[in-house]
Amino acid sequence: MQGQLVMENFYSAPDIFIPEINFNAQTGHLSISGESYHEYTLEFYKPVFEWLSEYLKTPGRHIVFDFCMSYYNTSTSRRFMEIFDLLAEYQQSGKGTVTINWYYKPEDIDMKESGEEYAEDTGLHFNLIPLTK
């Protein structure tokens, strides 16, 4: 019998127009933070989708996904929707659990609203959390 394949963590360093992405395969703690207005989001997020698809093949995971974005463009907004769809499917098929922590600056009503809209559209559990600092 083959042993369980241990997945590598995923890390992508931030730049001014791309977020920091940090996925811990062992703890199930995934996070994405910063700004995202890359011109070619399909290309930029491709490795993210590859990693996630692989990660979600294994049942029994308890995923906590932190979104701590200060700005993202509409192209990125589509990629986020696709990420949520993957996660929602994982949860709905009973393979595991997913919690989204959606952080926003207290004054940023637009970012809060974006989180509310994603929550309604995906059926995932969103914690909308104002940043204290």
Partner: protein, 191 residues
Amino acid sequence: MSATEQSFSIYEFYRRLKVHHLSLVAQGIMSQDLLSLIALSIKRRPDNEVIARRLFALVVELAQNILHYSAVKEFSAKDQREVGVGIVAIGESDTHYLVASGNVAQPENAAYVARHCDYINQLDPDELREYYRQQRRLPVKEGSVGGSIGLIEIVRKSGQPLSYEIIPIEDDKVFLIFVAKVNKSLNPHVD
């Protein structure tokens, strides 16, 4: 075609920018590096962070429209591909910030965008919200590399209609112009 042959006066240019209260004009490749610089200069200006971010969103969506859809393209060594060129200007009045963009387009593409723009301009905020979410769910159209929901986002962030103009130019092309505005104070379009 050099600037000196056209007797270009940077003073005249400066004066015209002042007359129209334009603080920033960029022409050429709308790269994300350029957008990053614009972001830094915008964040320094409006007192309100939310307004600044809305203004920046207008710039990004208009600039990336140009990058993906302009009929005039240049080779970007950094991107290793042809990218669209155009012009983006940021200005202000007493009550609003304004972003204007322009690029050469095929007439049929400009006409398509104009119809899309007419449609979203007559939606109320709730309808816009629904339309945005509905469009985000749809697969992207053939040949589209951007989000395809940029114009909806602009009208939502702006809180008012997006005006456009289509000017016929040489070679059966048109110059497609957008002007988006955002209120300087947090307006009641978001409850």
